[in-house]
Amino acid sequence: MIWTIIGGMTLILFFNRYLFLEPRLPIRLNRGVKEFLGFAVPGMLTAICGPIIFVKDHGLDLSLSNPYLLAGLCAIGLMLWRRNVLLSVALSVALFYLFRWWL
């Protein structure tokens, strides 16, 4: 099961990476497809973050005493302030443990 997933992911990644490097491929992505794919990073990454932050034991935790939510908001603030991915991640993870210990 796991190896099937790894094999499938390997094929998908290589397909995505190699498809347009193949010289015999005549087609081009039209503008609509490019625009749609342009939303893949914000759309998919947000969808992955949502459950990590809000879903706890099959229930929603929308309160401000949720350390994931508080530290997530801090990560946004830090990113807007310093524009540094590593710094924002390191500090917000530290804050996450602080909140979790505190709350």
């Binding site: 190699y18 914000p42 998919m44 973050c49 949502g50 924002s88 991640v89 979790r100």
Partner: protein, 231 residues
């Protein structure tokens, strides 16, 4: 003479990619340790980095495996999540597609966000395939070393799943998303994606992440298209 030029270019590429490779260290460690945490064997954990070699997709797949998602929903998510590589390859096509097959396959396999960032500034005259190979291999070797360290650490830390490591994945993605949320369609995309994923997970839909991601993408795309008509 040719050999030494190639070696110099390869070396320059490796050096250029070294800071970016080191910056990926925490995520490499995570990719290894969270895989162990999700009950993958050490070989499977390392296999993800050896064969798939895509940080975000690996972390997401591990999270989904841990959450009990089906293989199909993991593969669909992978396809969507890594579709930016289509765009990268499109940009690099003039440089890479005239090369011999072994170079196309090799550089294609090594194509990452970082590779694209370092190689795409070149044009057909200044592009050097050895430089590109240096960039790509530096990232590949570094990523696998950090994964291995993560696997070793993951094996030796008991109760890894209680440590809240998954927050670092959320923090990383938040840090990557925040700077690109600048236009109305992107804001709509992120908002719809967040709302629907919370709703779908609350309903315990198995493909909550893929469906919410797609909903966000469609919303953003429609918003951009409609905005274009109104403007």
């Amino acid at each position: 003479m040719r050999d030494s030029l190639a070696r110099t270019a390869f070396f320059r590429g490796t050096i250029a990619c070294l800071p970016l490779t080191l910056a990926c260290a925490p995520w490499g460690l995570l990719a290894g340790s969270t895989a162990i945490d999700a009950q993958l064997t050490p070989a499977q954990s390392q296999g993800l980095s050896l064969f798939v070699f895509a940080g975000a997709a690996q972390l997401v797949a591990i999270g989904m495996i841990k959450g009990g998602a089906s293989a199909i929903s993991i593969l669909v998510t992978t396809l969507l999540l890594t579709s930016q590589h289509l765009l990268y390859a499109m940009h690099l096509r003039p440089l890479v597609s005239p090369l011999q097959p072994k170079w196309r396959f090799g550089l294609g396999f090594l194509l990452t966000d970082e590779f694209f960032a370092l190689v795409s500034p070149f044009d057909q005259k200044t592009f050097n395939r050895w430089y590109a190979l240096g960039v790509g291999l530096c990232m590949y070797v570094g990523w696998n070393i950090f994964t291995l360290l993560g696997v070793v650490l993951g094996k030796s830390i008991p109760g890894l799943d209680q440590l809240g490591l998954e927050f670092s994945i959320a923090a990383t993605f938040i840090a990557l998303i925040t700077p690109i949320v600048r236009t109305v369609p992107t804001i709509v995309c992120v908002a719809v994606s967040l709302l629907t994923v919370v709703l779908f997970s609350y309903w315990q839909w198995e493909s909550a992440i893929v469906l919410a991601g797609l909903a966000g993408m469609v919303a953003g795309y429609l918003c951009k298209r409609l905005g274009g008509y109104w403007a």
